[in-house]
Amino acid sequence: MKALMITVMTTALAATLATPCPAADEGGCFVASGIVQADFSLPRVAAAIARKQLNVAVLGSASSTLPGAGGAQAYPARLQASLTRRLPGVTIKVVAHTKARETAAEMVTTLHQVLQDDKPDLVVWQTGTVDAMLGVDPDQFQSALADGIDALHDGKADGVFMNMQYSPRTDSMIAMGAYVEAMRFIALQREILLFDRFAVMNDWNEMGVFDLSATTKKIDVAERVHDCIGRLLGRLIVDGANLAQASNTGAGNMDTTHREIH
């Protein structure tokens, strides 16, 4: 409904035109280029990397978790592993704060709390699915996102948005469009990095990297999906930090987004 209607189809088109772009620590998690791209910098993450101590908080709903012991296979833990591999010598701590069935507005309260208690350098905020399922007014959803960004600024933390999963089976049952667009729009307008999970998973499904409509009770595909999300999210965060460094040293051009840190 909201303005910036960069639809799923964009991604599909991009996917057909683009070639996979492998880089360090992607473990076969190919995604069409341009889908996971640092358009904005993460200065506080860059500063934390320089201090050799990076604290990340992941705020999310049920799709940030997987059934199983201690969440070791869910993407927050996989993100910690990926960042540890990418940033040798830096102590990485990723803490997940997940709660099922929370809307974006409800999560803003948690966000304030987390910023106050943990003082993270970076908050990954996964939201949108619950709002779409409940049909929350997209305007209210947008203002909750904006409130969250204000909280991030006040709490002196960088932020990365993460939107919904792409779920082919429920695609015709949950009207995600307005909420996907709202997150993309606010991210662009307020210059917040977005991990476009919806586009990434749509690309995987399209390219046959993962069969997301398979009828299975087994957990292995789900675990591989989360591992890939963790790895790509790690790449995005490191790219964002590199971008901040590049603009600090005066060499701020967009190409640096693709440079690996090691």
């Binding site: 639809t7 799923v8 964009t10 799709s63 059934p67 049909g135 049952m173 997301l212 009828t215």
Partner: protein, 387 residues
Amino acid sequence: MPAVTPPGRDLRLDLFRGLALWLIFLDHIPSNMVSWLTIRNYGFSDATEIFVFISGYTAAFVYGREMDNRGFIVASARILKRVWQIYVAHIFLFVVYMAEIAYVASSFDNPLYGEEMGILNFLKQPDVTMIQAMLLKFKPANMDVLPLYIVLLGGFPPMLWLIKRSPTLGLAVSAALYTLTWRFDWSLPAYPNGTWFFNPLAWQLLFVFGAWCALGGAERIAPFARSRPVFWLAVAYLVFAFAITMTWYVPHTANYVPHWLTDWMYPIDKTNLDVLRFAHFVALATVTLRYVPRNWPLLTSPLMRPAILCGQHSLEIFCLGVFLAFAGHFAMVELWDGIGMQVLVSAAGIAAMVAVAALITWYKNVEARRHGPRQTPPNADLAGGEA
């Protein structure tokens, strides 16, 4: 294919409504490459605007004549009978939707999608869900258009009466309601949260504008609408909208749009029929009608007949389209969702819509012949139409 032309009927209405039905069908299939063809990707407005406008136009045309011949009460009763038919059609589609999610609930249990399966919670409390659906407050994905029509048509009798007395006053009242809706954020509540996706209090402007055009307004603005400056203004606006739309799809071009413009322009609100969308529809109509006059030879050619047939039975074909979009998506998920399948599902769906429309026309012709010359009142298809 049966012949379609009662003399004097403006076939352009049927043609464009039929095309709008096809576009709505294509847009309703998730992850469908073919929907790149639809107009929503190239400007601000989409098939919904075409559909609402034409429905207002035809409703005024059909029921306006009825009001002249048989009075306000009888015409109003006919309008409300139509509202009831649309309501029943909506409930039918709701049942189809519930059947689909019930099937998915029992067959699909991928641990990756534990959260998305929360949509099935509606099945766990049928007492609430069913009642909210019957009150038109619970409207699942893609089922927002018929409730909009129900409200627009339900409120139409007094507006029709007013437009017939004083067209200018009627349009002014409609515009005032639209303005107040924007000013005071009026809306209709939805279940379990939020408001109606299409706010009838705002969308009535397009419906009433269509009715106003049908009852003489079109002739009044014709000299103005056909003038050269207006034509070029419309073209310029369409080009502008096209350029802006492209920045949504081509990465990194959004930065070239000046900040003052984005601040003023966004968000372009579909729920409340943003004035930019309204203007885009009017511009599109201005330009299109210049090239498609009422006596356009192609209108009676076999090439246009499939779309015209669909447009003449819009309620049936709209419902069929929503059902086919569900079924097509289901087939894509179950069988194969490659581009070939997307094209196949899109083409087969449109073919099915045309076939059913042709069947309905054939049946109506047969019935009409059997009943001989007895005059049946014209049936207004989905808020207007078959006149």
